[in-house]
Symmetry: C2
Subunit: 243 residues, 2 copies
DNA sequence: ACCTGAACACCGTTCAAGT
DNA sequence: ACCTGAACACCGTTCAAGT
């Protein structure tokens, strides 16, 4: 965000949310860009939530007229798509597998990192996981080198390419599920590690709920289950190799 | 849906979507109920999608005035919550673990069943997985008996209650992730088993993509991965028992 | 008690018109 | 080329008023 942008934001502060700056001074030409609109939208979404983001509010925040946005994006849908692409790019940068560690550690770190990033950026989580979005061939292409490197690491340990990708997908879906569930609980105002009240007449369930919850998944539980999944993968690998 | 309901629906057919029946004959008292509104909303959502469901459209479908809905539900939010409770009830009924089979088969069948049900009812999927919703203590309570039975089956095989619940949660999250991903692809118009174009310069990835996809998860892939997860659980159990 | 239309604030989008 | 307000169709919700 540059200087002139900041000025506009400051000016827009106390103004009515009804779409336009108060002074009604027309903004000079070339002072808006698609990038600024995207940046402003992501900022505003962080504050008020992606579902509350509207075109008038965004325009007010940027200090421009509502309809000006439509010169850069044909529709709100198209704007949201641009936000999603931006979110995808940010996250993809995190998915470079760590070098100099074994496959197990690499997978553990990779998905922990992904989960932490998602938890730190609820808006990105909403954009990428909570709504449909087309993963363009172009965006997908950028993930190939790091995915190839990851599969290579697993292949070196003895997994076939098929098994390697399968394991990666499994961990992806598990992490995805955990992140989305936590996000849902958060949207509704419940902490992820809130204990589930124990139903005393169900002995085994009560016992299990002493250390776990059914309403979400805590930090410790995610890690423990991730380790369990990796254990399973390691064991299947060992069994295949000794067979 | 009873006879008088059908009549109203028929009447509402060709009418403007602007909220009220054309004849403007006032509906007699006691002819609307919360249950009918919920049923009509679910029906309409199935046709046009949950995101396109609006109060005026629902009213037109039911042949009543828009504002009448507000006598039964304080807000659209409250109505959606009622739809969610209904969806939860339907799905819970599916989660009774099969008897007379071993733990592995039971888990396999249970989650396959859950997945198939979700795939057959996109609206329920949207309500339960794609948006935040509070799982009320009341709703949760109804799941206790079947969960206890499931944990008992796993415990009989040698798992601790903690391990048993952990495995169930893992499979839940995995299935959840798979269902949500497929739903997203569907919303965007892509089949789940669409092959990802193979990037020839990445040898291992290309090899893996001959039998898999990165854009979703096919029927066969879901089952194969589910089996792999169960394999891992079985192996960890065996190792624990021989140690 | 139950159902209703008029009215309001807000939203996404189009369009003709400014610079 | 870029930015704008007026205008429109639609939405969720309130409220005073019917029966």
């Amino acid at each position: 965000m540059d200087q002139s942008m900041r000025r506009k934001l400051a000016k827009a502060q106390g103004e009515a949310a009804s779409g336009r700056a108060a002074g009604s001074t027309r903004v000079e030409r070339g002072s808006i860009s698609a990038e600024q609109i995207v940046a402003g939208a992501l900022e505003l979404a962080e504050e008020i939530g992606i579902d509350s983001l509207t075109m008038p509010k965004l325009a007010a925040r940027l200090g421009i007229g509502v309809t000006s946005i439509y010169w850069y994006f044909r529709s709100k849908e198209e704007l949201i798509e641009a936000l999603t692409v931006e979110a995808a790019r940010t996250f993809h940068a995190l998915m470079t597998p760590p070098r100099e560690v074994d496959w197990r550690t690499a997978l553990f770190e990779l998905f922990s990192r992904l989960r932490n990033a998602m938890r730190a950026n609820p808006v990105y989580c909403d954009l990428l996981f909570m709504r449909g979005h087309r993963l363009s061939d172009d965006a997908l292409m950028h993930t190939w080198p790091s995915t190839e490197a990851l599969i290579a690491k697993l292949a070196a340990a003895g997994f076939s390419p098929h098994e390697a990708l399968q394991n990666v997908v499994t961990l992806s879906l598990y992490t995805r599920g955990a992140v989305v569930l936590e996000r849902q609980m958060q949207q509704v105002g419940l902490p992820a590690d809130m204990p589930t009240p124990a139903p005393s007449q169900f002995a085994l369930l009560s016992k299990a709920l002493e250390t776990q919850t059914m309403r979400g998944i805590s930090d410790g539980a995610y890690v423990e289950q991730l380790e369990a999944l990796l254990d399973g993968m390691a064991l299947r690998l060992k069994e295949k190799q000794t067979a």
